[in-house]
Amino acid sequence: MAIDGIGAAVRRKEDYRFLTGQGNYTDDISRPNQVHAYFVRAQTAHAKIVRIDTAKAKAAEGVVAVFTGPDMAADAIGGLPCGWLVKNKDGSPMQEPAHPVLALERVRHVGDPIAVVVAETLSQAKDAAELLDIELADLPAVVGLVDALKPGAPAVHAGGNLCFDWHIGDADQVAAAFKNAYKVAKIDLVNNRLIANPMEPRAAVGEYDRATGEYTLFTTSQNPHVIRLLMGAFVLHIPESRLRVVAPDVGGGFGSKIYHYAEEAFVTWAAPKVGRPVKWTAERGESFMSDAQGRDHVTHAELALDKNGKFLALKVNTIANMGAYLSTFAPAIPTYLYATLLAGVYTTPAIYAEVKAVFTNTVPVDAYRGAGRPEAAFLIERIVDIAAAEMGMDRVEIRKRNFIPTNAFPYQTPVALQYDSGDYFATLEGAMKAIDYAGFEARRAAAKKHGKLRGIGISTYVEACGIAPSNIAGALGARAGLYECANVRVHPTGSVTLFTGCHSHGQGHETTYAQLIAERLGIGLDQIEVSHGDTNKIPFGMGTYGSRSLAVGGTAVVKALDKIVDKAKKIAAHLLEAAEADIEFKDGKFTVAGTDKSKSFGEIALTAYVPHNYPLETLEPGLDETAFYDPKNFTFPGGAHICEVEIDPQTGVVKVVDFAACDDVGRVVNPMIVEGQVHGGLAQGIGQALMEECVYDDKGQLRSGSFMDYTMPRADDLPSFKVSTAITLCTHNPLGVKGVGEVGAIGSPPAVINAVVDALKDYGVRHIDMPATPQKIWAIVNGGHRMAAE
């Protein structure tokens, strides 16, 4: 192994610039002569646009232009496209309503953009926005996703509120299994709506070069090529050859920066209109009402068990909120990223799930860290705990009894996926050991003496990531391929630049990918640079989400390195006057097998670019290779999370006193980065379980619209975590990697709620919906539990 290669906890290459204030985020970019855009947004959830008078605003000091929906419509600008088509049970396509960049005729959620003021300064734009005369006629709004399907509900779109009615699995087999059930565990649950809230608010700068006809968009994106494709082809009709999209340093994404947003299209469209670069940066309040939100399911589920506690069948009925419009990947989240995971880590032989997706007058909903898989894990791990209670079984025992045996891989689930590898016993044992599970009852008793209620909760989960095999995704409705691209450019003196189609917004790719290259080529990390985020530099890419950057993007790097080494061997064979088959490459040296004749990697690189002594008739000069890798299957990280909580019955406050996560993420390239990814995911999962909730009032007004109203986990809300791994290798990619970005957010919410329910078991509590706030807990402890729990 190279010193800084695979497995080394290398300190990050990117840290120096971030720690010295030299990161280059989109809002840090100012273009010469730029103007500022301020978006005027709907303040009511549903209304008809009666009239917009822009005259006064246009006349205000510093104003360059004011634009509204009809201005864009007049240019035949397309609506924001949806990238995934889900079909109804009968095979018909989902309802796919238009999503104009700026609202036309109607606004459908608080935050829907109505007009944009472009001015010399942001202050002038904001001042002028006050002078816009906008008349809206309020319409009744539908907010709750259950309400959306009720007869007579206000219709968000002309086609009604049902987006699709989809299903998966074998209903007959499930029905038959339920007939033979010894017991049935049931649950009704809500998966709370969340807001991703990366610390960097979204921003975009659009620029147009009249001399070349090239457009440039700087944007806070996880996937600049996807934005170029969607915006160029579907919205603005600009060929890729004249559209450059740059996602520079991006301050966190968590899914919310995957999608193509109105503001990106607007600034790019407006730049030639006003003849100057146009800049927009979201205020946090705008982020709350315009970033795609996450989760928001209502589910009823039933699990059939035999007399030994073996799971016979699971049936699930979910309603998922799409919000007012379809965000880029929204339809895929509550279907193919959710219901296909309902087997979890168990051998449940029959599963049937129905999912209805509905439109409401709320901000669009799409993937947020985990995306569908946390919803599946929460449902499964809650109903398993309820099943254990119904059966009078131990919660560990019922899980172990139903685990997919370690020797049963590859394992075909009844809901489409085939898991390639895993060892759920090992991860459970790892987490139990880390948290001293055996010693818990003593701790519970000790807490009781101090008037506190202790509980412990387990979650054993699996997820599907490494998104995704293109042919499978395509068959399921994806309108894009989901491969990844890597270009390895060896320079004449032997240093290397990797151009990757993935995008780092916190994941540390500049270090992890460099480790892959150092390992393979035997060169130092200081000889390697990783470039991402610029469509003019990177051949192509699908970006970073779904824990795909190593499993898919990293494999593309390996494939490109294979090509580099193959070619370098040919050059070495020529220089060493040996047969290519006799050349061995190890630790940065090409050696003729069995001899001491060798050439260094640097010598080969120089020869490739200065081909004076070179097989020019059979080999091109240069050492620069590109690979596209399309994964053969999803990868299946999984593991066990155990949470220990202490509740103060006087205040209802739940304190997470200990948390152990033992995850199988496949081969670990940089353990320091892997642990950091798990920590961050756990914080978001614990946040979902105890604190975070996006709340609308019954008129669709966003009540949790700032950091003063939406409870972000802070340092003093969380414990230090006990994080470990117990890995099995992915069998279908060369690195054996599975992915780590989402495991923390997927495994942890049910562990927390299972612990809270356990702490409150003497109060007859079976289930508590997230977030388990002090108010809910206090009500339970103080006799009002009907208000808060079953």
């Binding site: 300190r11 990050r12 990117e14 840290d15 120096y16 610039r17 971030f18 720690l19 010295t20 204030g21 030299q22 990161g23 280059n24 985020y25 809002d27 840090d28 100012s30 202050s123 809230n197 990366p198 610390m199 960097e200 608010p201 340093d249 991006v250 301050g251 966190g252 968590f254 205020e283 946090r284 309040g285 917004h505 916190g506 994941q507 540390g508 320091m672 980065i673 642990e675 950091g676 920590h679 961050g680 995911g681 756990l682 914080a683 978001q684 700032s706 950091f707 003063m708 972000m712 986990p713 802070r714 340092a715 003093d716 969380l718 230090s720 975590f721 923390g744």
Partner: protein
């Protein structure tokens, strides 16, 4: 418009500002020092923390006019050439940052804690950082970094 003069990272600067102009706007927009970030509009997130006359301040919550005559230190002013300040070095060593956006505020805030308490406990650090939100790290490694950074600062005295 009024003219203010202040010292930023040891250098005397002046700027024309409106009454409503915030200190962070002067730093980012007038002086081009974009290391100080804006993560919210309600003084909650702490991405904008700088030192004003040696005390950590949310620069989104201080009017530029109030900073007239003060000495301001930003994240850009910490390192000695290429040599990181001990708190910056500790953040790197302990992986106390991921996307880097909250990092400048975290580091600036942590330095004031370290000046007050050279050996803070985990509890001290978590309480102190209440006004700095990080969405990436779960705070685990930030806590370790701040403790190590505080000790390194004390040792360097």
């Amino acid at each position: 418009m009024a003219k203010i003069s202040l010292t930023v990272n040891g250098k005397k600067v002046s700027a024309e500002v409106e009454g409503r102009t915030l200190l962070v706007q002067v730093l980012r927009e007038k002086l081009g020092m974009t290391g100080t970030h804006v993560g919210c509009d309600t003084s909650q997130c702490g991405a904008c923390v700088v030192h004003v006359d040696g005390k950590s301040v949310k620069s989104c919550t201080m009017l530029a006019a109030q900073a007239d005559g003060t000495s301001v230190t930003t994240i850009e002013g910490l390192a000695n050439g290429n040599e990181l300040h001990p708190m910056q070095a500790a953040f790197k060593e302990h992986h106390g940052l991921q996307c880097g956006f909250c990092t400048p505020g975290m580091v600036m805030s942590a330095i004031e804690l370290a000046k007050r308490n050279s050996n803070p406990s985990e509890h001290d650090v978590r309480e102190w950082l209440e006004g700095n939100i990080c969405r990436c790290t779960g705070y685990h490694n930030i806590v370790k970094a701040v403790q190590a950074g505080a000790q390194a600062m004390a040792a360097a005295k």
